[in-house]
Symmetry: C2
Subunit: 215 residues, 2 copies
């Protein structure tokens, strides 16, 4: 219980009240009113920010095991939107429960802190991509990211990872236009860095893809 390298689990938080919800693609993952907290059980979603004029910045991909709404709950702000990309199954966590456990202290507070730390790290790398990488590098990085998230969620099958993302989503994640994203993806595909078919992506060589991403 004193080990900083303990793998993250949330089972102790959701074990008690396993209220489940299913969400269809394109729908918001969090209900409208009040603060809410959910854990992804199955499916893939995304979190994005909207600027006043409608521009959208995708800032995170949501895979099984991810917790959504914690930041909004803690900082009392509702700036980000959570949306399902594939059909999803979510466990709803009662904020009151969470609060109780946190105040009680112990492992759960530590676990939440580590979850937040991982979130900060992911955002940090995401920022590096949007800010510093050009179109090719950014897309290579995005595919890398998708591969790694799928790997740690155990979603790799027949040497492919789920890839349910429209090119518009990829564009909004990297701050590129749709057209340029399309052309750049075609070029990378022709270079044999990856191949997308049937909402799944195949990567012949992760090493080569990583190099292309200037990871």
């Amino acid at each position: 219980m004193d080990d900083l390298t303990t793998p993250l689990t949330l089972d102790d938080l959701v074990g008690r009240s396993p209220t489940q919800r299913t969400v269809t693609p394109g729908r918001a993952m969090l209900p409208e009113g009040g603060p809410a907290l959910v854990r992804v059980e199955a499916g893939i979603g995304m979190r994005y920010l909207l600027l006043e004029d409608g521009r959208r910045q995708v800032e995170a991909l949501l895979y099984p095991g991810d917790l959504c709404g914690l930041t909004e709950l803690l900082a009392q702000s509702r700036s980000a939107c959570h949306e399902a990309i594939t059909p999803m199954v979510l466990s709803v966590i009662d904020p009151a429960d969470l609060r109780l456990q946190t105040l009680r202290g112990g492992a759960s507070a530590e676990m939440l802190l580590r979850l937040m730390a991982v979130e900060v790290l992911r955002l940090s790398h995401w920022l590096g991509s949007a800010g510093q990488r050009n179109a090719s590098e950014g897309i290579a990085w995005f595919v890398c990211q998708v591969w790694e998230r799928a790997e740690s969620s155990g979603l790799i099958e027949r040497d492919t990872a789920p890839f349910p993302f429209s090119q518009q989503v990829v564009a909004d994640a990297l701050g590129l236009s749709l057209v340029h994203t399309n052309k750049t993806m075609r070029r990378l595909r022709e270079q044999g860095l990856f191949r997308i078919a049937g909402a799944r992506v195949h990567v012949p060589s992760i090493t080569r893809l990583r190099r292309a991403a200037v990871l």
Copy 2:
């Protein structure tokens, strides 16, 4: 003690071992070996990420009251660099102390969680800037950000905020080239959005600046 809107303070964490360090501009804020945790007491710094090929992405400005190193401590990674921009005064916090208090539970864990949540929110907005805004909007947003941080740190004097940032830093924060940053800043200055002199910035109308930033 049960109020989610309690203002953030760290005094209970550093009150016990007020080891202070001073750092000169351009120097790393965190010592080399092992995990470290410091609180900014005075001065301004930044946190940035380095890509393999040397490109740099500035991802946060560090003002008095900010905590540095928590993410690295929790996630066991040392990806980001902390660097002083002005002379700084830092309080060094013993990670063991922090750990003790967190495990003991109670207010400090909750406070750390809120700090992390604020960090996530800031990164999220930063990402929106680097990803979606063009040069003019990005720079306007950056100046807004500087103004707001100075405000909440009580650093506004004679209607000006500290602006110790070189144009290279602004460029690396927004993912722009130095030359283009310079030309764009000149244009915005000529439009009367802000005026920089003597390492301080004057903003005639925050409202107008916000509008230019498409906040």
